[in-house]
Symmetry: C2
Subunit: 314 residues, 2 copies
């Protein structure tokens, strides 16, 4: 659709253009971190934008690679930050989608060894998938620790309690070619407000890929699987009528490209305009898949489009 407006490829859009774009879309897919909030602070204007879209009858869903909390906790966070109309069914996290993949796609029979936070483990358990119990063995090593006999998948997510022993155990499980190797996402790192950075699941996944000599199947963005989850749970999802809004070229924009969605990059998170333009000038098809169709400074730019819509409808 974007081509119809003569704007495709990294174009800054404003009020009337945003309004025209929204008029052609039924489903609005939002990334969370860097798009509607940063940590525990909502991006200014994001609450009004999300609530307005829902009130106007758009299907709004949230697609996040953050695997650290179960969806219930997301509902609480949305509510806490003022997004009071968001319901569980609108939230597609990489942990939830990993559980769906294990339960419905590969129908795993056996335990899953999880490198990840409790939230990831909780999401699997809610889907009825047994996880290897983490035992507290302060002096155990890979030379003498116990290994579970029936591990049929290793799942790597963000894990701020990652240890060498967990990495070694996972490497051992993956020697069995029938043991699946999944990653919630491959985000390399996340910015912290202090200027520090937090290694992401992609960092831990890379360690395990090298140690095991295998490649992980990625559940989260930019893989198409999250879009398949949305399509299976909402009726009439047409990629041409979906808009993906995110802050990271390598995950959100590529996800949009991979799924045939129009994309909007918002500049309140990780990726900036210069990087998008560099990819835009590249001759590699793989680079051009990272280029957003549209760019806004912030999600708050959508408010102007609504104001004009209000005026029109008055």
């Amino acid at each position: 659709m974007a081509g119809a407006f003569g704007l495709k490829g990294c174009q800054k859009i404003r009020g009337p253009q945003i309004r025209n774009l929204l008029a052609t879309k039924d489903f609005i897919l939002f990334d969370c971190d860097g798009v509607i909030w940063n940590g525990e602070t909502a991006i200014t204007g994001a609450v009004a934008v999300v609530n307005s879209l829902i009130r106007r009858g758009k299907n709004v869903v949230f697609v996040t690679n953050n695997s650290t909390r179960p969806r219930e906790n997301y509902v609480h966070k949305f509510c806490r930050l003022g997004f009071t109309d968001v319901m569980l069914e609108q939230i597609f996290s990489s942990s939830y989608c990993s559980a769906l993949y294990l339960r419905d796609v590969v129908k795993v029979c056996g335990q899953v060894f999880v490198i990840g936070c409790d939230g990831l483990r909780r999401e699997l358990q809610e889907a009825g998938i047994p996880c290897v119990e983490e035992t507290d063995e302060p002096n155990a090593t890979i030379f003498d620790c116990a290994l579970a006999p029936d591990v049929k998948a290793v799942l790597v997510g963000h894990d701020d309690k990652m240890t060498f022993l967990k990495l070694a155990k996972a490497s051992c499980y993956l020697r069995d070619p029938d043991c699946l190797f999944l990653a919630t996402d491959t985000d390399p790192w996340h910015p912290l407000s202090s200027g520090r950075i937090l290694p992401g699941s992609g960092s831990l996944t890379a360690a395990l890929e090298v140690a095991s000599g295998r490649k992980a199947t990625v559940i989260g963005k930019p893989s198409r699987f999250m879009f398949e989850c949305i399509s299976s749970q909402f009726s009439g999802v047409d990629p041409a009528q979906c808009l993906m809004i995110g802050d990271r070229l390598q995950t959100d924009m590529l996800f949009g490209s991979n799924c045939g969605l129009d994309t909007v990059l918002t500049l309140t998170g990780v990726s900036q305009m210069e990087e998008a333009q560099e990819y835009s000038n590249s001759e590699l098809t793989s680079d051009r898949s990272l280029v957003p169709d549209y760019v806004v400074d912030t999600i708050a730019d959508f408010l102007l489009a609504f104001d004009e819509l209000e005026e029109q409808s008055n």
Copy 2:
């Protein structure tokens, strides 16, 4: 030189051929793990081979990517396993060479943040290089932990006490483009006698490369630097008169290729003949660099060459 015997490229050699090969070589470079010992057990015949070579006036050196112990401990291990003639000066470990690189090549001014075992830290300290003190902060996180102000290099080696916090700290230090990023080696994993595997430095380095978005400078094999260390400490080292004996194509054989040395693969460790032949049949130059010139079943095959030498000299 190998071409002169019409054998170059993955050729199994035996007594007389080994004798002819040794006759052209002054320096014999041995990898350790999988070549002269496996863990705490010497490979049968290895002691006799090493001692015979030294007694015959060959320069014998050991080049190991194992960064876990300082060279002194290696001397003890050599002695314990029966290699009684091996001296400190013959041992080139990736930890020792990392210390030389930091002290003599980049002349680091400031502290080094080490992901590695105590042995690596000890080797640096003996070279006068200050390392960031590891503090025991069981509840610290990257959100609130202290970071040293003057870290000028991050060095990653094998670390069986690796934690997420260490990875996160290293990622933060590497945000400073003036902070060097070094890896003792990139060995992906190591086999254990139990059939389990131990993730190697390469696994931890990959995690940090992804989290930092940077590439590590590799000190150990297959990088040429270890050979430069040998050349700087022995006089008259001519690559044409050196023989590299190892068990791993991706480190030992490639190291030999990178340094212009003839190579012997011994089949008592990681790599097997089939893998070597696959690379041998490849059309990629990069693959062909992994192919050994010669192959022996075990280092003990060298004994036959000596027997014949003895017979000749009698």
